[in-house]
């Protein structure tokens, strides 16, 4: 049996006190609250590490690059302690047939019990010839691993939606994992973004280890805890949007004052991701904070929705001339309509949940 996370940590000289601190940090990163800390600690102490096969198709490796920058928890803790990362061609020591032998070994040893993490996607044109690994199409490798895995993590926008290689005209017919014809019927969690936020990636893995299931997913298959809000909802420049204060050109006074970037093409209002709360590089910053509009990289087909600098025209805002009373009346109307819509959505969701597969 594979060692538990706790054993590995103790072997590395980490005290029990530090271990518990790690658990509580992880709980808060997952938005679970202090009551869940003992459960995480228990999972780490008693559960064997999850075997993970991390395969690469058509991709740019930015997901792996993001992943190794995770600060809470540190990527090294995840890679060395929480999971048993048996194959990842970006960071593994082996190459060539030794590397490919590990894929087969993992599939045989943990048949039906390993997590298949997919970074990138397979091309379907010319029977997958645009992505060849060890002399065989990646498409074959993906099918083979998917047939034997327990569940699939679709890392990034490539595996989730198709991303840049699937942008018009999609010359290789690059196809996201869940749309690959004949792909094994396994639970799939999408963690989109180009790349996804490092802490979101490690948090998803921590959750799966702790609770032995996926976190709650939205109807597009993304973890709700990170993808249920738009960048716009928690953007620190949001007050400028509401006040009608916009940057009109890159070098104007409004840009210097840090006004809203909506008119410069910001896709924050239509992009569901956690950048404005979790932020990047250990919480240091995110694109809007650096003065550039969000390009909407976690959304399906974001490459083909017009220029990144063309502003979206279907976002409603409170007019600058409207006073608080008028805004209040309008908002009350919206709330009423939203409540009705919400009831309908809840009914659908309840039905969906009943149909959900337990992984």
């Amino acid at each position: 049996m594979t060692e538990t996370f706790y054993h590995v940590m103790r072997r590395q000289g980490i005290t029990r006190r530090s271990f518990l601190k790690f658990c509580s940090l992880t709980a808060s990163a997952l938005g679970l609250g202090p009551a869940m800390v003992p459960r995480i600690a228990e999972a780490m102490e008693t559960k064997p590490r999850i075997p993970v096969l991390w395969l690469h198709g058509l991709e740019c490796t930015c997901c792996s690059e993001s992943f190794i920058r995770s600060a809470h928890p540190l990527a090294k803790d995840v890679v060395l302690s929480m999971i048993s990362l048996d194959y990842d061609d970006t960071i593994m020591a082996a190459a060539g047939h030794q590397a490919e032998a590990i894929v087969e070994e993992t599939i045989e040893r943990y048949d039906g019990n390993f997590i298949l993490a997919v970074e990138g996607n397979p091309p379907l044109n010319q029977e997958g010839m645009s992505c060849i690994i060890a002399g065989r199409p990646f498409l074959d490798q993906l099918h083979h691993a998917a047939n034997h895995c327990k569940a699939i993590i679709s890392w990034g926008s490539c595996a989730s939606w198709g991303c840049v290689q699937a942008a018009r005209p999609n010359p290789t017919r690059a196809t996201p994992v869940h749309k690959v014809p004949g792909i094994a019927d396994k639970p799939i969690i999408k963690v989109p973004g180009c790349p996804p936020i490092a802490e979101v990636m490690t948090a998803v893995i921590t959750y799966i280890l702790t609770f032995e299931k996926f976190p709650e997913l939205d109807r597009q298959g993304r973890p709700k805890m990170f993808y249920s809000q738009r960048i716009h909802d928690k953007c620190y420049r949001r007050p400028h949007f509401d006040a009608g204060q916009f940057v009109e050109s890159w070098d104007d006074e409004s840009a210097r004052k840090g006004y809203c970037l909506y008119k410069m093409g910001c896709k924050g209002p239509t992009t569901y991701n956690a950048c404005s709360t979790v932020r990047w590089n250990g919480g240091l910053s995110f694109p809007i904070q650096a003065g550039h509009p969000c390009i909407g990289c976690s959304e399906d087909g974001f490459w083909d929705k017009g220029s990144f600098y063309q502003h979206v025209t279907d976002t409603h805002q409170f007019g600058v001339e409207a006073n608080a009373d008028k805004v209040g009346v309008a908002a009350a109307g919206i709330v009423g309509a939203a409540a009705a819509a919400h009831a309908a959505v809840t009914a659908i969701k309840t039905a969906q949940k009943r149909g959900d597969r337990e992984q």
């Binding site: 690469h56 058509l58 991709e59 740019c60 490796t61 930015c62 997901c63 792996s64 690059e65 993001s66 190794i68 061609d89 970006t90 960071i91 593994m92 020591a93 082996a94 190459a95 060539g96 590397a99 490919e100 091309p123 645009s130 992505c131 060849i132 690994i133 060890a134 002399g135 990646f138 991303c163 840049v164 290689q165 942008a167 018009r168 005209p169 999609n170 010359p171 290789t172 690059a174 180009c194 790349p195 390009i295 490459w303 220029s307 990144f308 600098y309 063309q310």
Partner: protein, 162 residues
Amino acid sequence: MSMKTTPNGYKLDDSGRRVVVDPVTRIEGHMRCEVNVDDDNIIRNAVSTGTMWRGLEVILKGRDPRDAWAFTQRICGVCTGTHALTSVRAVEDALGIQIPENANSIRNIMQLTLQVHDHLVHFYHLHALDWVNPVNALKADPRATSELQQKVSPRHAKSSPG
């Protein structure tokens, strides 16, 4: 000995022992290397092949030139910013745009910062595994390492006894 001429006009010595490494790991993308070694283990023929094609050149056609950097940046997730900055410069050259000195300085800072970060990633995550055996490294003696470090650089902040 069998000499071959490739369609591109290169001469290949296809004799001796053939060694194939596929996939080459710890790089961006997918790669295959084939070499032929003679009796003295000298490489007489080497072929490397990128085994992945996404067609970014085709996808870029007909796009808004202001967006080109983002597509180009996705060539590689390890050296992203370099591709982006180069793409921006290519678009500016094509349109005859002169950039102010400050913009040039900012870009240089971005590029050099990326270079520093890339050295760390490349050495510790990618390159080091060619030189370090991680299994043996775990058995290393931190005190001995620290003593060695102190001999080399006594004032180094990290050279305190382990």
